[in-house]
Amino acid sequence: MSLDVLAGALMIAFAAIGGGIGNGLVISRFVEGVARQPEARSTLFVQAILGVALVEVVPIIAVAFGIMKVLGV
């Protein structure tokens, strides 16, 4: 196994950790908000999805580059 694969795997792993924490924060706040104001559910849902997508960007970019590193492109 070359070091490239290890590098790619590490990128994906840390991206997963960071993304997991970020998404957890967003979704927990979303659930809190829905628990406090159930009638604002649809608005909050769109905002939460938007937030998840924004948080997700850095890890997913890292994953993409990690995959490329693993594949050796």
Binding site: L50, A53, A64
Partner: protein, 261 residues
Amino acid sequence: MNLLEMEKTPKIGFELGGVPIDFDLTVVITTTVTCLLVFLIVVLAARKLTMVPSGMQNLVEMVIDFTKGIVRSNLDLKTSSRFYGFAFTLFLFLLIANQLGLVFNLVTEHQQPIPFLGIEASNHAEVAGKEASKYAWWKSPTANLNVVFAMAIAITLMAHFIGIKRSPKNYLAHYFQPYPWMVILHLIDEVAKPVTHGMRLWANIFAGEVLIVIMLQASPLMTGLPLILWIGYSLFVGVVQAYVFTTLAFVYLSQKITTDH
């Protein structure tokens, strides 16, 4: 695994005054197909307009209402009416482009090189253990970094251009707010915006497609329910990313247009 070959695409290239101009044939094909699909959907919806919408008209009107909402929430009413067409086309294009690569794959194997298309043949004799060269002819156009960067840079340039046309003084002034030294941060921000804007979309779609390929090739255990789940999630991600890309395009646009920064 020969995933490397799965990601190769045929290319056409020529030089114009020393600048190499390459066309990714896969992108050319899939972008054209996406454009045709979008146009077909819209024309089918607009062909028989009725007061009580049904079928395709209903769907297109829903999308129009949705994109109108995106534009309205970022721009004032007078400005926003000029961007309805842009928002609608952008959203529908991305929506279809993101799903295109999930439907099927078209991969060709080549024993003979075709230099015109940039296809190299793998040489069995020279590289032991390597299979025939494979080229993907069918992928989401948005899984190509050039495509998303082209869109993101074009949108950023448009935003800057409109901002300058609106009020050059305000446009320049907002770089030095709230403190003059913040101009550095602003410049970094202006570069980072299109880069992350494009990469966000590309990385999501690219990762989705690569994972599908990996799952298909990895082992028979992965091709059942996990693959279906992942394709479903990719569909969802494609829709969300189309929405996010469109929304962010208008967020960036509104940052340049609104005078009260």
